[in-house]
């Protein structure tokens, strides 16, 4: 066999997989290998299957320039819609070409852009409001709270702003520290060290009533610090956000880590498909961002 015959053989196998269908949608991401992304795709594909679409999922293995190239190819191929899971600002060159060709683009947890008809994501404001309100209610509106925030990263910054407002609106809640942990190592270790220092500075039982963290890692670090300081029995309420597996384990264990927020990744995928369906049928979507509901995770529902 020579190169040619093998190429043709391989190519004809490939051809057999390319079916004919009505609506063709290209889903392009550099992050398919990351946990979470696959759930968006699963949700999208399930919804697309029900509609009889032909979906082409393209992963560029972290290469952002290749995302632009694949968007260009999808435009050349004249697909009916493109779904991206990458910061639109970084792939604007490709999005401009899609706009010129009149092909709608939907973002799946991507970011806002004039080139994206709508970005489907979770509402960070709402998520922060739920956990902050949970803390206020658990403390009966009274106590000292430690906050772990990260203002340099916009999606996390907005969570902190909402929690600030809710705590400030409750007269007997005092925020005794607003900590920005070093996240170089993932955020657990430094958060733990910072919490240890705060526990040492506030030795009286009850002097710290709750820890509100803008994401799970600092909450896990704070939990370790509280447990190792032998103060787990003081009833310090710890809440995180994102409900990662480690946080779910901690919540299920029934200790101080009481609550976190779960994003509905498959729901985001399904809602992105819904947005595509509306755009393809000629509707315009006025909301630049489409929010998918999130869920408070506590010991009551963590096993679901």
């Amino acid at each position: 066999m020579n190169v040619k015959s093998i190429l043709i053989g391989a190519a004809s196998m490939v051809l057999a997989t390319a079916a004919t269908a009505q609506e063709r949608v290209a889903v392009i991401t550099p992050y398919l290998a990351q946990p979470g992304t696959q759930f968006y795709i699963d949700g999208f594909e399930a919804a697309a299957e029900g509609r009889g679409w032909e979906v082409n999922v393209i992963d560029t293995a972290g290469d952002i320039a290749a995302v632009i190239s694949r968007i260009e190819d999808a435009v050349t191929q004249n697909v009916d819609a493109i779904v991206i899971n990458v910061d639109p600002a970084q792939v604007e060159a490709g999005l401009a070409m899609a706009a010129d060709a009149g092909i709608p683009v939907v973002g799946m947890d991507a970011g806002m852009s004039p080139y994206v008809a709508t970005n489907v994501t979770s509402n960070g404001y709402a998520m922060a409001a739920e956990t902050a309100a949970y803390v206020v209610n658990r403390l009966n509106g009274q106590g000292n709270v430690v906050m772990f925030v990260f203002d340099p990263f916009p999606p996390v910054q907005i969570r902190g702003v909402i929690a600030d407002a809710i705590f400030a609106n409750t007269p007997d809640i005092e925020v005794i520290a607003r900590v920005t942990p070093d996240v170089q190592d993932g955020g657990i270790a430094d958060s733990r060290a910072q919490m240890e220092a705060l526990l040492a500075a506030n030795p009286e039982p009850g002097s710290i009533s709750a820890v509100w963290a803008a994401w799970d890692q600092p909450a896990l670090g704070a939990l370790q610090a509280v447990e190792d300081a032998g103060r787990a029995g003081e009833g310090i309420v710890i809440v995180g956000m994102d409900a990662n597996p480690q946080a779910r384990d901690a919540i299920a264990a029934g200790g101080n880590f009481e609550a976190s927020m779960a994003q509905d990744f498959e729901g985001i995928g399904a809602a992105a498909a819904e947005a595509v369906a509306r755009l393809v049928s000629g509707e315009t979507i006025t909301a630049p961002v489409t929010y998918v509901p999130t869920r408070l995770i506590t010991s009551a529902n963590v096993a679901d």
């Binding site: 020579n2 040619k4 391989a10 290749a66 694949r70 600002a89 970084q90 060159a93």
Partner: protein, 318 residues
């Protein structure tokens, strides 16, 4: 010439032609259009620049594994200087300078200290990759920090009648022209191939091997930096790992090109065909809705087949 020796030399070319015909038949409306082909040249322009300059060191039988890291470093150097308020031109010059310096370091390690290129550039790859993280603080620099004149370059094009020839394509063509002249038309290029043929013989013949190798690595460093800036301009951002993927693809392109040259040497026009092969394959497979992981399998298979077809002549002589 026997059939086997024909196949040895032209197997890759036949495969290339077969691929183009296959895509042209299956994508009759979109594949062989001027717009699509020009688009592909833009998509492969960064890889092309790295691969062309990689050809220079590979002509001597050397390697440079640090090109991807150098490309990433050049991107974040320029972006960091943009943030610091440097004018675009100066920041670009500084990033190119960083590439040349990085190449010079590779050259000193390989040519002056005599460290194997694989080991030396594996080490500097890690060093440059780490430096890219240090310079950028591990962050992606994007948005308003990247001047519009810089990101606009990658989106600009030369209008020629109905055709838009992308600026990035023009840069790649310019680099191709320079490398072709250097390698094929100058005594310097011929000496590089002499070193690649037999370094001891070249040395005994009075070739200043140390200096020539040093300069060759500088070419590769400069090429990597140019590609890194092209990449940063195309994605209007810079992060410390974005160019890393260029290295393996560039080496693959040079290898594919080598299977097409008479003596199995790296020739820059052969490298160009290797680059176009990978670029057209990506483009065609995407348009045919082929899974991205299948594409990886196909690329690897094609490289092995191309090299294997080059071995056919060897078997027939045994």
């Amino acid at each position: 010439m026997t059939l086997a020796s024909h196949l040895r030399r032209y197997g890759t070319l036949l495969g290339f032609a077969a691929m183009v015909v296959f895509f042209a038949l299956n994508l009759p409306d979109t594949f062989l259009t001027a717009r699509n082909l020009l688009n592909v040249t833009q998509q492969v322009s960064m890889l092309a620049v790295v691969a062309f300059t990689m050809t220079v060191v590979m002509a001597m039988g050397d390697f440079d594994l640090s090109v991807g890291a150098m490309a990433s470093l050049a991107g974040v150097v320029a972006a960091t200087l943009f943030v610091a308020g440097w004018p675009v031109g100066l920041a670009i010059a500084a990033a190119l300078g960083a590439g040349v310096l990085a190449g010079l370091l590779n050259g000193v390690l390989v040519s002056v200290l005599g460290i194997l290129p694989f080991v030396a550039t594996l080490g500097t790859m890690t060093v440059f990759g780490g430096l890219a993280f240090v310079v950028s603080d591990g962050r992606t620099i994007f948005g308003r920090d990247i001047p519009a004149s810089f990101s606009g370059f990658a989106r600009s094009a030369l209008e020629a009648g109905d055709l838009r020839i992308p600026a990035l394509t023009l840069v790649a063509v310019a680099v191709l022209a320079v490398i072709w002249v250097v390698l094929e038309q100058t005594p310097y290029g011929r000496r590089l191939y002499a070193i690649g043929g037999n370094i001891e013989a070249a040395r005994l013949a009075g070739t200043r091997v140390v200096k020539l190798r040093l300069l060759a690595f500088c070419f590769t460093g400069l090429g990597a930096a140019i590609a890194g800036l092209m990449y940063a301009s195309r994605v209007a951002s810079a992060n410390p790992t974005q160019g890393d993927g260029l290295m393996l693809d560039a080496i693959a392109c040079v290898f594919l090109g080598m299977t097409m040259s008479e003596e199995g040497e790296p020739r820059v026009l052969g490298t160009l065909l290797g680059v176009l092969l990978l670029g057209l394959l990506d483009n065609g497979l995407t348009q045919m809705n082929v899974d991205s992981y299948i594409r990886e399998v196909l690329v690897g298979t094609i490289i092995i087949l191309a090299v294997a077809s080059g071995r056919l002549g060897v078997f027939s002589r045994r």
